[in-house]
Amino acid sequence: MNEIELAVTWATLEPTPRQRQRIEARVRRWLDARDSSLAAEWLGLLKVNPIAGLGFAAVAASLMLIATPLSWLAFSLV
């Protein structure tokens, strides 16, 4: 088998269209996640599921509001 025949055989190792799609989807997802800010992540969550997203946002905001003075109080007592 010469160099050219081997090159022809090697072409069978090409990824299939489905494999290409899978790889590209994962790379794109990772890069998008890396590029997006926290605010963009929250907005994305709201877009996917507005009701649950708003619920999570409300719970997170109230936790921050309650936890901040409580932890301040706890630290001042110690």
């Binding site: 088998m1 010469n2 160099e3 050219i4 025949e5 081997l6 090159a7 022809v8 055989t9 090697w10 072409a11 069978t12 190792l13 090409e14 990824p15 299939t16 269209p17 489905r18 494999q19 290409r20 899978r22 790889i23 590209e24 994962r26 790379v27 990772w30 890069l31 890396r34």
Partner: protein
Amino acid sequence: MIATTSIRFALLDEWTVSSLFRALFSRFGGDTTSLEEDAILRLVDAARAGDRAAGQCLYRQHVDRVFRVVRGISCSDADAEEVTQDTMLTVLTSLHRYEARTGTRFVAWVMTIAVNTARRRFRRRRPELTDPNDLPRIPDETADLERDADSEKKREALLRALAELDEREQEIVSLRYGSELDATEIARVLPLQPANVRKILERTRVRLGARIEALLNPNGGMS
């Protein structure tokens, strides 16, 4: 006279193989046309400056090559997919570290990342691989459906023959035939002396070719 003739043949051979690679991979690899090195370097500069389209173009130019190389040194399609994905992520997020070197194309830098990523991943499993014939062969059902029977037969023979080579031989032939690197570029990727690469490449090509032919024609007949 003899030296001139052999140089001419070597150049002709190099040209033929290189154009064949281009024709083959544009046939199998979709609509991506290979770009010249100058164009690639312009894309690298643009991607560094934050141009996402340039990054995407670089991705398309290299993803299939990475997969072909990685598939030659890995045990399954799933492994090759993951290593390709990790390699492309590293390439796209580390472009600021790339420095162009005379005589070495951008693709050689990409392949250095691919080989290192594959080594890190497979080294952890190496003790399991005792006998080349016992290598785990994880079939990808969807992939099988997308290839014709003849291609699948050749592919299996190639993968089986590759599994019988040692790690260094696998890397060298994969870089040559999967990514069209020349001996000097392969020597920089691995790193080895170019003369050693040429010697190993020639020896391995003969062995690999003979083994593939034997696997494709078990009775010794012509295909």
